[in-house]
């Protein structure tokens, strides 16, 4: 009986095509990925059923220029308003803060007001989207 023995030939795989493909993949992922740091602001699209509480919420109106209006006074600096709101909350005069943008206020201005107030320690805070019919 004759047993055939195959001689193993040594193939050396050429690395160059592999590197080419890896480079193309690298460039694709470098261009297609985004590293933007997204921060979400959660909002309700409709009427939120807030629990009826004894103390009313404070409504802060944001006008088109970014000014904050609360109880008939216009505040240019959010810090000043935040101090007043925090004091009122500590005295149990208000239960929460609702930020209500005017119809012509842009999203930049509205989000800026929300951000500045929450940065100054005002909480809990929500954004009135107007769809609940509470526009003055």
């Amino acid at each position: 009986m004759h047993i055939e023995t195959f001689e193993r030939r040594k193939h050396t795989i050429s690395l160059t095509p592999l590197i080419d493909v890896v480079f193309i993949l690298l460039v694709f992922f470098m261009l297609a990925t985004s590293f933007t740091d997204w921060r979400p602001i959660t909002l309700a699209t409709g009427t939120t059923e807030a629990p009826a509480s004894e103390t009313p919420p404070a409504v802060v109106r944001v006008d088109a220029e970014g000014g904050l209006n609360y109880e008939g006074r216009r505040y240019d600096s959010p810090r000043e308003l935040a101090r007043r709101l925090n004091r009122a909350r500590d005295n149990d005069e208000i239960s929460a803060v609702i930020v209500q943008p005017d119809a012509q206020a842009t999203l930049d201005v509205t989000v800026g007001a929300l951000d500045a107030l929450s940065g100054a320690g005002v909480a809990p805070m929500s954004l009135a989207t107007g769809s609940n019919g509470s526009r003055p």
Partner: protein, 118 residues
Amino acid sequence: MLPLINIVFLLLIFFMLAGVLAQNPPFELTAPDTAETQKAAQLQRQVLAVAADGRLAFAGEPIERDGLADALADWPDDKPLQIRADGGIKAESLTGLFTALRRAGISEVDLLTRHQDP
């Protein structure tokens, strides 16, 4: 040669794992900036994009406002819809959009803002 290939492989794996494949809407938009919002979010694959002139795109494809209900028909109730809106849109058009979304069965949305260090 081999150290170079090792580094390229490492870079490839880094970009594959660390980033999110961006799904860009077919129009330019600049999301509003925030500095104080602490909650972070991973960008989902299906994001509703809103241009400054009110055009909409869902998951990278332009759609009409009338088509929102069809596009969002199988959206789960407990998952907020991520919205990438241009910072220049007016509050009244956002209100109109929210009304349309509520009709489409969306009760909660996540308005995406870009984090900027103050």
